[in-house]
């Protein structure tokens, strides 16, 4: 901040061209980001399609008490939590492992080749991923060919609730593990060679070098990505679930976002769905603020 504040009029006269450049983007943010945020008031108001986007009349916490007493809500809440936790459990550490393995490769050409291939799934539309999964996992698909080859009975994976989480998490790993290595690989190149030299002189073998030099070297990156992962923990891939689930797998596959999608846009209970959506958004915000605060206190690293 400047010591002496100049009047806004003078600031505007000097910098009006800069501010004018910000005008359209600001209008965009207000209309398409902040208006929907305010639109969440319909969680507490009666809403009529075609009426005001902010609803008609206050109804208080009616919709909140409604979902708190809704057994399906608790079912999908649990599903969201379980899928989110499993995704975090596998999709956070595996890129670290892959990055460490890639880092040990001596042949530059081979390293580049593995990287290029493993980044590829990141570029695919989720519809393509879902389409591939359906082909691979169908009763005649190649996965079931393997199951039959080892003497098993073919399993209609996408029709079985007990298989949904496995399918979801393993395909999530397939999509994200390669791309997730980028930041770690960048961090690995910044580790000082002298630290390894010193560790070797102290008699550390490769494993101890990895444990005492490499991992501490990429710790800030790990913490940052962990915060982000925890923050988006409940935002389970809505589009993917929507494409992959069906009424048979609802017991394990249905998550908050897909439930509110059906409640809101298929059954037209806009206010009820908005209440669930608001609940989910508040949890997401709390999680990311909480994770950030904890990491700032404990390891001294934070997002902002």
């Amino acid at each position: 901040m400047r010591a002496v504040r100049e009047p806004w009029r003078r600031t505007l006269r000097r910098d009006w061209q800069l501010y004018s450049l910000a005008l359209l983007p600001l209008v965009f943010l207000l209309v398409f980001r902040y208006v929907p945020m305010l639109g969440n008031v319909i969680a507490f108001r009666r809403f009529e399609p075609g009426g005001s986007i902010f609803g008609e009349a206050w109804v208080g916490l009616r919709y909140v008490t409604m979902f708190l007493g809704d057994p399906t809500f608790w079912q999908v809440f649990t599903n969201t939590f379980v899928i989110g936790a499993l995704t975090l459990l596998f999709c956070f550490p595996l890129p670290v492992v892959l990055a460490l393995l890639l880092n040990e490769v001596r042949t530059r050409y081979f390293q580049r080749f593995v990287q290029t291939v493993s980044y590829l799934p990141h570029f695919l539309s989720i519809v393509i991923v879902a389409g591939m999964l359906m082909q691979l996992l169908s009763v005649e698909g190649t996965v079931n060919q393997i199951v039959r080859a080892v003497g098993g009975e073919a399993i209609p994976f996408l029709q079985r609730p007990e298989w949904f989480r496995t399918v979801y998490v393993s395909s999530e790993v397939w999509q994200t593990v390669g791309w997730g290595t980028i930041l770690y690989l960048a961090a690995l190149t910044t580790i000082d060679e002298n630290l390894y030299e010193a560790a070797r002189i102290d008699g550390a073998n490769r494993w101890r070098q990895t444990w005492h030099v490499t991992l501490p070297g990429i710790r800030p990156t790990m913490v940052t990505l962990l915060i982000l992962n925890v923050g988006t923990f409940m935002a389970v891939g809505f589009e993917k679930v929507l494409l992959l689930y069906n009424p048979l797998t609802y017991p394990t596959a249905d998550v908050l976002s897909t439930y509110l999608y059906r409640v809101g846009l298929e059954s037209n209970n806009f206010s009820y769905a908005a209440a669930i959506g608001l609940f989910e958004a508040v949890i997401g915000l709390t999680l990311i603020l909480g994770a950030n605060a904890i990491s700032r206190r404990t390891v001294g690293a934070s997002l902002w």
């Binding site: 986007i53 892959l98 589009e239 069906n246 809101g264």
Partner: protein, 308 residues
């Protein structure tokens, strides 16, 4: 003899000795590592190979579970069939139009805002950044967005697809940090020469930012090309769908047709070969440009990871 060969290549002496010292365990690890990484490559590529094999196979072989990595009953008639579908091409064309328009809008808005945010001396800058960053952590959600787009009368128009996602805050911050790192002397000199702010941005800054603008264009273009949900949600007529929704209806629609959850646009059972061909044709443009654009993406992500 021995001394001679060592003298000829003195540089190799140390690594060789080191190699002997670490020898066995190290070499075993290297082999295991390469095998593990080759498995990663195989698992990543396997679905692509299978889908391609299916797309050239005869349906009877697929239905009896005989197609794996090589096509059985090789034919291209399924390709001819899918490519003769007028709706498929119509939707493909829509995807191209949506992607081009959305990317153009997104680049203009993001560049302008990022340039403003990069001016450290600008009054109110912190607030302007905060307004954008807050939307990363809290967003309106599906229902309020749907209500808004509907009440703006954007349903069944291109605007429902190209406007609501015009600024990605991640991309915005990448561009901002790029602009911040430009030497200020150039702009100061241009200002003394009497160039306006618009002139500086257009004639000085942008020509020097071709790499970052190209990277951002690719980021946006790929994400718009791949998106399907906006088209699915806001378009009611098949001739307005992007090709991803065409594919979705073919795949999910076919799978759901028998169960109760089917919605409008779901088709009856579609053969696996047709599904595979449509997948291949949709993914083809991405695969074609992927080897060339990959490094731009990597550098873009690195740029974005620099803490603000």
């Amino acid at each position: 003899m021995v001394t001679g060969s060592v003298l000829k290549r003195p540089v190799e002496l140390r690594p060789r000795l080191a190699g002997i010292r670490e020898s066995r365990g190290r070499r075993v690890f290297q082999v295991v590592n390469v095998v593990v990484l080759l498995c990663v490559v195989a698992v990543t590529l396997y679905p692509f190979v299978t889908i391609i094999a299916q797309s050239f196979s005869d349906d009877s072989y697929i239905r009896s579970g005989q197609v794996n990595l090589v096509p059985r009953g090789f034919n291209t008639t399924t390709y001819e069939l899918v490519m003769s579908d007028a709706l498929f091409w119509r939707n493909y064309q829509n995807t191209v139009v949506y992607t081009v328009v959305a990317t153009a809008i997104a680049i203009v808005l993001t560049t302008c805002y990022a340039y403003v945010l990069s001016k450290r001396e600008l009054r109110g800058r912190t607030a302007l950044i905060g307004i954008a960053v807050f939307t990363m952590f809290f967003n309106g959600g599906l229902i309020p967005n749907y209500v808004l787009i509907t009440s703006l009368g954007m349903k069944n128009t291109i605007w429902a697809i190209v406007l609501p996602n015009a600024i990605s805050v991640f991309n915005l911050l990448v561009m901002k940090s790029f602009f911040e790192n430009m030497p200020p002397e150039l702009e100061e000199a241009a200002k003394i020469d009497g160039l306006s702010t618009y002139g500086i941005l257009w004639r000085i800054v942008l020509p020097l930012s071709k790499a970052v603008v190209a990277t951002m264009t690719l980021f946006y273009a790929v994400s718009f090309w791949n998106s399907w949900f906006a088209g699915f949600l806001y378009m009611d007529r098949a001739e307005l769908f992007p090709v991803t929704v065409y594919l979705r209806n073919l795949i999910v629609g076919a799978a759901n047709a028998s169960s109760t959850g089917s919605s409008a646009g779901d088709l009856a059972q579609v053969s696996a070969s047709i599904q595979s061909v449509t997948i291949v044709l949709t993914v083809l443009p991405i695969l074609a440009v992927y080897p060339f654009v990959q490094r731009f993406f990597v550098s873009g992500v690195m740029l974005g990871s620099v803490k603000q």
